[in-house]
Symmetry: C2
Subunit: 211 residues, 2 copies
Amino acid sequence: MSLMWSVKVVGLGVMALSLSLELLGWVFGRCRRRRTLNKVLFFPSKVSCVEHLFSQNSACSCFCPLPHGVETSFSCLLRHILSASSSLDLCVFSFSNMDLSRAVLLLHSKGVTIRVLSDKDYSAITGSQIGVLRKAGVCVRCDAGSVHMHHKFAVVDGRLLITGSLNWTLTAVQSNMENIIITEEAELVQPFIKEFNQIWALNDPALFYKR
Amino acid sequence: MSLMWSVKVVGLGVMALSLSLELLGWVFGRCRRRRTLNKVLFFPSKVSCVEHLFSQNSACSCFCPLPHGVETSFSCLLRHILSASSSLDLCVFSFSNMDLSRAVLLLHSKGVTIRVLSDKDYSAITGSQIGVLRKAGVCVRCDAGSVHMHHKFAVVDGRLLITGSLNWTLTAVQSNMENIIITEEAELVQPFIKEFNQIWALNDPALFYKR
């Protein structure tokens, strides 16, 4: 009888332990968030060859005189933009950087849904890539409602926010002191998506015909 | 005997339960991070009276014609800047906003350690507050090393980052489409602190005499 009771007590203890462990596992699973990307890039960026980022073949050989195989702020920015697989919403005051324009065109050719918002005045300056994108069939709207549409942000696949002081120009990338935040924090990404959709809707050309 | 064993089993069960609960509490405590501030502000901001933010007396009465008691993007920005209790590191391309200048001067008068970095060219334009701050005894350094020192960020008490597209001008606040992120995420704050210290050191006037 005493032995049977001892077996029962041990059995109960083991059961309590296994239940506790299971509960602990569940709690850990709930608490442990997937690691959220939070990155800061500073400019001016070192200049390096970024040809491999545009190539399907990661081991592409380029014979340009720039340093190869070097990760710079700009190559990192470009890599995150080129990571878009379904959509890219771009809201940028000044856009004249040829490599960034090439990245947008490459995504467009791959079927990624692109929407570009820019400032009306700055989209018309010499070297602006806004006209180039428009001609290639990218959806572009220019804001004329405010003094300046001074944003410089992009949302990749509705989950990754790229924002900061950096306009998409060569001077900004190679000569100025600038910063960019790349983040997946939903509390930061979601307001930018909402803002983009609002400005996009405000500048719907159909509205101008109705006015 | 049987009753005694039953009591022991129940006791053991209660003990196992209490231990499990204690363990659970500990695990929850470890997993639950203190809520990290992540906020986005968009501009242009509505215009409202911000006089109460400068007053010790929160119930100060102001008779200006602007709306009172309204929380706007600008009042929120101002509130976070004025929350500085030990230090404010400010790195801004263009600084001409009188209310923001007044906030910096108020913090300076309260003994908060202020360091201001600005762009050399833009610190000399009409309406710039850089000269005003310098005259008031605030530590100011102007960067002449890059084409433009185009950052627009501030770090409050070494823990709160305020950054975005917004220059500290009246046009930016009241007329442009702009954004600001206010965050305590260490992964975002720390690189900006490092960047500030680097630019600050690079523009140490003592270095110019040695050159």
